[in-house]
């Protein structure tokens, strides 16, 4: 739920209006290196100097994980029904319409099937760009259906998480998506089909407290923020500063909650090998 407080980060490199000349150059947030967009893209949006992983969206993940032209998206048109007719400082329905227009996405997850080195996979990838990657009914339902597709086709499931947590504007219905997705994963597990969970920056709240932490294998990109409560809330609770590196991928690895950290450039190869072992 941290998307409101981290507004600065709520911009993907793809849509970032660079203040650098002609918009072709971007600055690495970690080391300050100025990188040409083309170079960044060929390096899978990682800084060549310090390996900082720029935040990217579902289209970019699909572009380098799947065999060319093999990915077919499902339930592309599904949209929020605004079940509570929620209004805060703005109407949720208007927020949705504006975000759809701005992001070109219909909600915070893209699902479908594709091939990784010739092996068929059911796949879901979240988009932080869409209301902080928050999970409401649409995200829950699309992920549940993707898991069912894996179950029916007897193929592995891969989910890339990137989310501030459950979506406030759908109230308890958002919360129930945690149970919905987890129960479908439980059925997938009974059928002995593999589920690989990939955590990217950030993965917090209800997404971490459901499918993201339920992988047979859980891997994370370097230095991703991963946790249940947001750092701001924890800081308020304990009344002191948080230690360096707290809730980052490396911290979770050290505490035994993820299998390994993967650099984006090695992600496809690692996934391909894991799938070979598990199928």
């Amino acid at each position: 739920m941290g998307w409101f407080t981290r507004k600065k980060e709520n911009i993907s490199p793809a849509s970032k209006k660079s203040d650098l000349p002609d918009g072709q150059w971007q600055k690495c947030e970690e080391c300050g290196e100025i990188i040409h967009t083309k170079q960044l893209e060929s390096n899978l949006w990682c800084c060549a100097k310090c390996n900082y992983h720029f935040r990217i969206g579902s289209d970019q993940y699909i572009s380098f994980l799947f065999d060319a032209g093999s990915f077919r998206e499902s339930n592309k048109k599904m949209r929020s029904g605004d079940p509570l007719q929620f209004v805060d400082t703005k109407k949720y329905s208007e927020r949705i319409t504006a975000t759809i227009k701005k992001s070109g996405l219909n909600d915070a997850v893209k699902t479908g099937m594709g091939k990784i080195d010739g092996k068929k996979i059911s796949f879901a990838c979240m988009d932080f760009n869409f209301i902080g990657g928050s999970m409401g009914s649409v995200v829950g339902e699309k992920i549940a259906r993707a898991i069912d597709a894996a179950y029916e086709e007897k193929i592995p499931m891969i989910i890339i998480s990137q989310s501030g947590g459950a979506r406030m504007m759908e109230g308890a219905l958002s919360l129930m998506q945690l149970a919905k997705t987890s129960s479908r994963l439980a059925r997938l597990a009974e059928a002995k089909l593999p589920f690989i969970s990939i955590l990217t920056d950030p993965t917090t709240g209800g997404v971490t407290a459901s499918f993201a932490m339920l992988g047979d294998i859980i891997i994370a990109e370097p230095k991703a923020l991963i946790g249940f409560a947001g750092p701001r809330v924890i800081k308020q609770t304990i009344g002191k500063d948080l230690p360096e590196g707290f809730q980052r991928s490396e911290f979770l690895l050290e505490n035994g909650f993820i299998d390994f950290i993967v650099s984006r450039k090695e992600m496809k190869e690692k996934l391909s090998r894991l799938i070979e072992y598990l199928t």
């Binding site: 339930n75 308890a172 129930m176 479908r184």
Partner: protein
């Protein structure tokens, strides 16, 4: 008693005081009709106030410090309770209590979030906010119940899972996620009751079941009205609006298809009459349990999957 009076309860309490005073005078004067009239007025006022509670007022009732808590229900509703402790991994979390009990003729595993009543017991119970050990204790005991074919009853009453440094280090999110995963396939009946506050993943962590019951004056949502206010309105001042927007009462959740049944509370709230509250819940739990026990295990688990599959609203 008077120290925990909510704002909207005040006119009722004032009238009740007046009646009490008049009773004291009654020996000397004949004012029985006046008293009777006033009593009638109190009842009307009560009905009026409690039929028209705002969502925020419901949240306040759900948090009333004199409401029955999990252990009150256990002691008043069951016999031969044996409390069981620990997750066998790290420690024993006092914010979740659990154990075996007899609900009349039925053996049950009862697991519930437990708040304290004063500063000392609240510190001991961590204000009903679990660490990962609480969820892992709950899971251990649910698996134990499954092994010995004992149905599970859970009671939700928490302001949230504890957002602490150690909780994160020991995998708060993983502990909750694991419970959702395991509870969704547990091969014994699970009845969930929201008895107070149902705050987000912290509540849901023991909240997956075959029947979801909700006491009349409780709340259940993805976030508390205060936190919602602070994030969406960027101020703590909009908690009333946030409560309205979140649609978090028992009636709301019944309408949203999340809750199966609302448990009526005594007039004025569960804290007004513990005995009545407990006996109402007990009768309904027994009824629900007996219905679930008639189902074949396969059917029970399949129904549970379908139950949560139905939750959500989207446009295709």
């Amino acid at each position: 008693m008077a120290k925990n009076v909510l704002d909207f309860e005040k006119p009722i309490i004032a009238l009740e005081k007046k009646i009490e005073e008049m009773r004291r005078l009654e020996g000397d004067l004949d004012i029985s009709t006046e008293i009777k009239n006033l009593e009638e007025k109190v009842l009307q006022l009560r009905k009026n106030i409690y039929d028209n509670l705002t969502r925020w007022q419901r949240v306040q009732l759900a948090r009333h410090p004199e409401r029955p808590y999990t252990l009150d229900y256990i002691y008043m509703m069951t016999e031969n309770f044996i409390e069981l402790h620990g997750d066998r991994l790290f420690g024993d979390d006092h914010a979740i209590v659990a154990g075996l009990a007899k609900l009349d003729q039925h053996k049950v595993m009862i697991i519930g979030q437990q708040k304290g009543r004063d500063t000392k017991s609240n510190l001991f119970r961590n204000f009903g906010m679990s660490n990962p050990e609480g969820y892992r204790k709950a899971l251990r005991l649910m698996k134990l119940a499954e092994k010995f074919k004992i149905p599970v009853i859970t009671m939700l009453d928490t302001p949230g899972a504890y957002p602490g440094l150690e909780a994160e280090k020991r995998g708060q999110a993983e502990a909750i996620a694991r419970n959702l995963f395991e509870m969704s396939r547990l091969r014994v009946p699970i009845i969930v009751t929201i008895i107070g506050e149902g705050a987000s993943g912290g509540a849901l962590g023991i909240g997956v079941g075959d029947r979801i019951l909700m006491l009349q004056n409780t709340w259940y949502s993805v976030i508390s009205p205060e936190s919602c206010s602070s994030i969406l309105w960027r101020s703590w001042e909009y908690k009333e609006q946030a409560a309205e927007a979140l649609k978090l009462t028992a009636e709301d959740l019944l309408e949203q298809g999340i809750v199966d049944r609302i448990i009526p509370e005594p007039l004025g709230g569960a804290h007004k009459d513990h005995q009545l509250m407990v006996s109402t819940l007990k009768a309904i739990l027994k009824e629900e349990l007996e219905a679930l026990l008639k189902l074949k295990t396969e059917k029970l688990v399949q129904n549970r999957l379908e139950k949560f599959a139905r939750m959500g609203v989207y446009v295709e």
